[in-house]
Point group: C2
Chain length 205, copies 2
DNA sequence: GAAATGTTTGACCAAGCGGTCAGGTTCACG
DNA sequence: CGTGAACCTGACCGCTTGGTCAAACATTTC
């Protein structure tokens, strides 16, 4: 928001190294559980050097969250009102599941934040996120009214999609504990299950 | 496990006060984010007094998790192989949703723990929880084979139920941010949505 | 090649942390 | 009502935390 884009290439590189390290640490320990020393070590820099690039621990965390929100919302943007409703929604489910598989740390960063009451991103949730969800919910409701989709509460449908997909990133430790640590296909199985599941539930009679 | 049941009524009372306060604090800040001072203040006791009843911060956290695991597993135990499959599963969904509504702090305590890699309850997950889930998954698979249930991957079905119900406790901040802070019926709406949703998805053709 | 600017660090600090302890207070019970 | 056990607390301790700073080291620029 207020930050000027980094000037030198060293700045650009080190800021990125720090954000990468911070993502690792924040996503596995939460904001308070993470320490600057941990982040510095993970980044291969000294602590004062980390603070040379970011004003504070808070600032690193904010930078991460800001940079992420857009990526996280993107797939919902793609819900196309011109498409075939059931297939559009299934595609959204699979897109979100892919995100959970490829960016689990980002997902857990959000999860940590929201479980603890979203103190730092409340505004983003009540503002742009709510606006986008409301818009897409209206779209889904219109589909349902037109009989092209089983009648569903659109907001709760969206929640269910978030829940079922992000579960594989956020609760990975539990999923792996139950399925066994090395079930390499469990994301594929999840994809198959969710596809079939949402298709059955959403296809109108 | 090793703890002798408290003797005096003062011990019983204060241990309970401390656990109640600790649940509040741990569930909103995570283990590392919570402090003994916070717990002591919330409990209305001095910090040394808290440590008179529990050996350490760890010990309080363990006591909470131990006492909770059973409650959390109970509804899955009730899945009755003699019942009607779809209705049994819908009843399970609603039972879990009620738990999320009535015990959100307990749910968030687990969520915090699992998001951060479940370092303290890995054994419980890979042991008793996995055993119970595998048993019930076999039951569900049998129902599906008998044609009394749509064909589904039983493990992923159970994950989806956990995800969709606990979502309303764990991600409460997000749900409220989107639905508006005072939608008193949102749990009822969720119940209606999930009932309809799982019925459609699980009823065999 | 030197001055100016940008980068890095060891040493340090105040505050907060989990936990201890000596001693005072309250309670149960004969 | 006396006494021993249970309960409670202020003061304190060693350690970690986020953050500072002066000075050393690189890098760019002219």
């Amino acid at each position: 928001m207020t930050s000027v884009p980094p000037k030198t290439r060293i700045q650009k590189r080190n800021r990125e190294i720090i954000l990468e390290a911070a993502l690792e640490v924040f996503s596995t320990h939460g904001f308070r559980g993470a320490t600057l020393d941990q982040i510095a070590q993970e980044a291969g820099l000294s602590k004062p050097n980390v603070l040379y690039y970011f004003a504070s621990k808070e600032a690193i965390h904010s930078a991460l969250l800001d940079g992420l929100m857009d990526t996280w919302l993107a797939p919902l943007h793609e819900l196309d009102s011109a498409g075939e409703p059931v297939e559009e929604l299934v595609a959204y489910v699979l897109h979100k599941l892919r995100l959970a598989r490829d960016f689990p740390r980002e997902s857990r960063l959000f999860a940590n934040e929201i479980v603890q009451g979203a103190p730092r991103i409340r505004d983003q949730i009540e503002g742009p996120l709510k606006a986008l969800v409301d818009e897409k919910a209206a779209q889904i409701a219109a589909w349902a009214r037109a009989g092209r989709l089983a009648p569903v509460d659109p907001h709760h449908l969206i929640f269910s999609i978030w829940a079922t997909t992000q579960h594989y990133a956020d609760f990975d430790a539990q999923v792996r504990g139950i399925l066994g640590p090395d079930d390499p296909a469990h994301f594929d199985n999840a994809a198959a299950f969710l596809t079939e599941f949402y298709r059955r539930a959403l296809t109108p009679d």
